[in-house]
């Protein structure tokens, strides 16, 4: 038990076959107390949630709800080894995300025909995809923009690595080929299993990241529209999003989506609210830019899975609509500056500076924490955090109202992941090497999500370019939502093998090299 960073053998915290770790981490009096107080806050959030009878009912109705028992453990996984400002940054991000997801669940069950059945509330709900940019909801302050897929599949897998397996199996038993991406596959499985809350005045689907997500929506919309009677608008975002000659198409889709929402909810688009949200989006962009700027120096502060998860939530799911995230941005920036000025580091030893590219494994999001603690590989930034940095028009003028339509279209086209998996090889391949140079990285950890065709379709070119540039390229294969294909240890072994055989290095913390966490949350 040690106060100093890196004194603990983190592997000793795991127990064979256990879902949770043996004990909490001792971080010194101040940090342990802080961490424990945050743990209590999380328990309070969960407790408050379960006080409502409709939520208890939902807990037993929806299979995936059981995964939410693992919330505190998820935070613990991401705070491993953190002290001082790093610990506080992590909690600021994660606790806010937890609070946001708890509210999302509460709202879903409030309107759900099977549990809360608040019909008046349901009329004010617009359903959106899990991986969808919510820009089109920025001007509807009185409506609730809710995603059913976020809690049922996306967050569930972050909490419990085995959460999606049942739904993947359901989809395959129904006849879906086993080689498609498990994310839309699991979402389709939830729909086939009829295991999603039923509510809403209408739904907005989008061709988000890939062919799989586009087609998976077809399964969901069939149930929504034909069985549940909830009208669905398919928002088609162009794939070649960097091209000028697709922007008018994208903008018209936004206009059509807004008109569809107005028609089905009776609400009117509010420009004042939109521009307020746009200001918050711009602020979040500036903060993210500042953090990334720090990460180019020897003293990165906001990085790893925290950066990825927070960016994904704030940039895409929130999109300026919730003021609490602006407050969190401010707090995180302040803590980061503070640590940067003191030249603080998050781990005992920094050996390699890495760009994390590709689509990360959802069942092992804390892999980046492991990289740092086990091998001293600093995950400076990742593909999902390298999103649009374009500033939105934020003053309400007639010209800006027209610009705003194009801004929303741009954000929708550039939602997380799709801004790299679509748009041609320049955004996926060429820009990686530019980032490698900008961040002074000597290593690229390339998540090879095996069923992501857009990514694996550049496999050979990644290899060729890395060889030309003399960058260490480490492939980490995984199957996104399904640890039965490649386990967490299987993921780690790919790094272990590279570091030992190619780099000829020894781990900083050997206890982390092999972990028996097959059953762990």
């Amino acid at each position: 038990m040690a106060k100093e960073i890196g004194k603990d053998r983190f592997g000793d915290f795991y127990k064979d076959g256990g879902k949770v770790r043996k004990r909490r981490e001792w971080r010194g009096v101040e940090d342990t107390l802080y961490d424990y107080s945050r743990w209590l806050v999380i328990m309070g959030t969960l407790g408050k949630f379960m006080m409502k009878p409709r939520n208890v009912k939902a807990f037993f109705r929806y299979r995936w709800m059981a995964n939410y028992l693992a919330v505190p453990m998820m935070v613990d996984r991401h705070t491993q080894g953190l002290r001082g400002e790093y610990l506080r940054i992590c909690h600021t991000e994660q606790d806010l995300i937890i609070d946001d997801v708890a509210k999302l669940l509460d709202n879903l069950f409030r309107g759900d025909r099977r549990t809360g059945n608040d019909t008046e509330f349901s009329k004010k709900v617009v359903l959106v995809d899990e991986n969808e940019m919510t820009a089109v909801m920025m001007g509807f302050p009185t409506l609730k923009c809710l995603s059913r897929e976020t809690p049922s599949t996306y967050v569930s897998v972050l909490l419990n690595q085995h959460a999606a397996e049942h739904y993947i199996d359901v989809a395959q038993e129904f006849g879906l080929a086993g080689d498609v991406c498990p994310m839309p596959e699991a979402e389709a499985g939830v729909s086939i299993d009829d295991d999603a809350p039923v509510l809403g005045a209408c739904a907005i689907q989008c061709n988000t990241t890939c062919d799989g997500s586009l087609l998976g929506n077809g399964v969901i919309s069939r149930r929504l529209e034909l069985e549940d009677g909830i009208p669905v608008f398919q928002l088609a975002a162009p794939l070649r999003h960097r091209e000028d000659d697709v922007q008018e198409y994208a903008a018209q889709e936004i206009r059509n989506a807004i008109a569809f929402i107005e028609k089905h909810t009776g609400e009117k688009w509010d420009w004042k609210e939109y521009f307020e949200c746009a200001k918050r989006v711009n602020y979040a962009t500036r903060c993210r830019q500042e953090w990334l700027e720090m990460n180019r120096t020897p003293y990165p502060q906001v990085f790893g899975s925290n950066l990825a998860l927070y960016t994904e939530t704030n940039y895409m799911a929130i999109c300026g609509r919730i003021a609490a995230f602006e407050k969190a941005d401010r707090k995180i920036s302040k803590l980061a500056r503070q640590a940067y000025e003191k030249k603080k580091r998050a781990a005992k030893e920094y050996r390699h500076r890495a760009i994390i590219w590709g689509v990360q494994s959802h069942y092992y999001m804390d892999f980046l924490v492991w990289l740092l603690n086990c091998w001293g590989i600093v995950p400076l930034t990742d593909m999902l955090s390298m999103v649009s940095t374009r500033e939105l028009a934020e003053t309400d003028t007639p010209e800006n109202r027209e610009t705003a339509i194009y801004d929303m279209a741009w954000l929708t086209e550039n939602m997380i992941m799709r801004n790299r998996t679509h748009g041609g090889y320049k955004v996926l391949l060429d820009e990686l090497w530019e980032f490698t140079q900008q961040f002074n990285a000597d290593m690229v950890i390339l998540w090879e999500h095996m069923s992501c065709k857009a990514l694996t379709g550049m496999h050979g070119m990644f290899e060729d370019r890395a060889r030309e540039l003399g960058i260490h390229l480490v492939w980490v294969s995984h199957d996104l939502f399904d640890p039965r294909i490649i386990s967490r240890q299987g993921v780690r072994d790919q790094i272990n093998n590279y570091m030992r055989t190619v780099m000829r290095e020894e781990p900083i913390d050997p206890s982390l090299e092999v972990l028996h966490d097959e059953e762990s949350w």
Partner: protein
């Protein structure tokens, strides 16, 4: 039945990507526009002075180099094309135009470009990538028109001085329609109770119209149509059931043959490289420019699963049911190439809907690019044929009391 006079000729054409007619058209001084996806309007690539060739990789063997670049998780069609491109098998092309129809096709062509597989000795060679609509609406039409103008017509005019006027497009449509009408007329014979053309023979003819310059095929297709008018069908229908094949890209000669060898007559072809709806003639009027009319008809008739709006999704399944009814099918075979995302989903939903809502027996299979003599596939088709026969017998039993 007596063999079709030109069948071997057509089969020979399909054994090479760089076939005899492509060589002849190039000797005629025509520009070869290579393409990979059915969503690229063909008449726009068959303007005076150009001809289109939809890329295939017949007699594909090893795909090791392409598998290194694309991994084994991409469909074999995209890998086979890349492998052939790396081998220099598409040196006849003067440009390549591809929409982002699916991620795999996009990556395949991007790798062709990055690896400089084509156009080394052709300074005017170009690669063009197009955005195509995902919904059948006015916004989609505007996009389609703009994209065809910017990524097909303009580059052809700028690089090769091709006439892209409305008159030139109309001329191309007329030639395109001639081929479509011939294929359609030949295909009509598949509706007969005693068909005078096999599904395999029809597949060969249709496939040739995608892979060869159309204007060089017309006389042989006309002769074949004439021949069919007097061709005597077999006295007894030699198959045990009639099926519609629905699904992803099929340019393999053996797949349809295998199905028919297993006892199922392929009476209709609703797949990429098939004639439904790929060989629907394009009807032009004089009150609107030809480009817009072509795009509208391509968009409206498209049966590609990348179209994501509800009317299109519902329409796809209705189209299959209508086709099955029109061609007197007993059952439907949904096929997808392994690793094809769009058809994986469409096959899953389509097979349930056609079975449950429309009452057709359905077989859903996935397959490699080149099926050759797959015992597994043969067994599955045979079992499907048997199941349809049993259902028929049971139905007849009920009808007879």
């Amino acid at each position: 039945m007596k063999d079709l006079k030109h069948l071997i000729y057509f089969e020979q054409l399909l054994l090479e990507a760089n076939n005899e007619l492509i060589r002849q058209a190039r000797e005629d001084g025509k520009i070869c526009v290579a393409y990979t996806c059915e969503n690229t309007p063909e008449p726009l690539m068959n303007l005076p002075g150009t001809f289109s060739a939809r890329l295939r990789a017949p007699r594909t063997g090893s795909m090791e180099v392409a598998t290194y670049y694309l991994t084994s998780f991409l469909c074999e069609y995209s890998r086979a094309l890349l492998e052939r491109a790396i081998e220099g098998g598409y040196s006849f092309a003067d440009c390549i135009i591809t929409p982002d129809g699916c991620s795999m096709m996009n990556r395949c062509v991007e790798n062709m470009e990055l690896l400089k597989t084509m156009g080394k000795d052709k300074p005017k060679f170009f690669y063009e990538y197009m955005e195509i609509p995902m919904k059948g609406d006015d916004n989609g039409l505007n996009l389609y028109v703009l994209q065809c103008r910017n990524h097909i017509l303009k580059p052809l005019a700028e690089h090769y001085g091709i006439d892209i006027s409305d008159a030139a497009i109309r001329k191309a449509v007329a030639e395109h329609n001639k081929v479509c009408e011939l294929i359609r007329a030949i295909g009509e014979y598949r509706k007969d109770e005693q068909p005078r053309i096999t599904g395999y023979e029809f597949h060969i003819l249709t496939l040739a119209t995608y892979a060869c310059p159309k204007y060089l095929l017309i006389d042989k297709l006309e002769e074949t149509l004439e021949e069919l008018k007097t061709r005597e069908p077999d006295e007894k229908f030699p198959y045990r059931a009639r099926v519609v094949v629905v699904g992803s890209e099929v340019d393999d000669l053996d797949f349809i043959k295998l199905i028919e060898d297993s006892g199922a007559y392929v009476c209709a072809d609703r797949f990429c490289y098939g004639s439904l709806p790929g060989r629907d003639p394009i009807v032009l009027t004089d009150d609107e420019d030809a480009l817009t009319q072509i795009c509208r008809q391509y968009m409206q008739r498209a049966e590609c699963p990348r179209y994501m709006d509800m009317p299109k999704m519902q329409g796809r399944r209705q189209y299959v049911a209508d086709t099955a009814k029109e061609y007197g099918a007993d059952g439907i075979i949904y096929e997808q190439m392994k690793f094809c995302d769009p058809w994986a989903y469409e096959k899953m939903l389509g097979s349930h809907i056609l079975r449950e809502d429309f009452g057709y027996p359905v077989l859903a299979v996935d397959r490699p690019y080149s099926i050759a003599t797959s015992g597994q596939m043969r067994t599955r088709v045979q079992a499907f044929v048997e199941s349809m026969e049993i259902k028929k017998i049971q139905k007849e039993g009920v009808a007879n009391g």
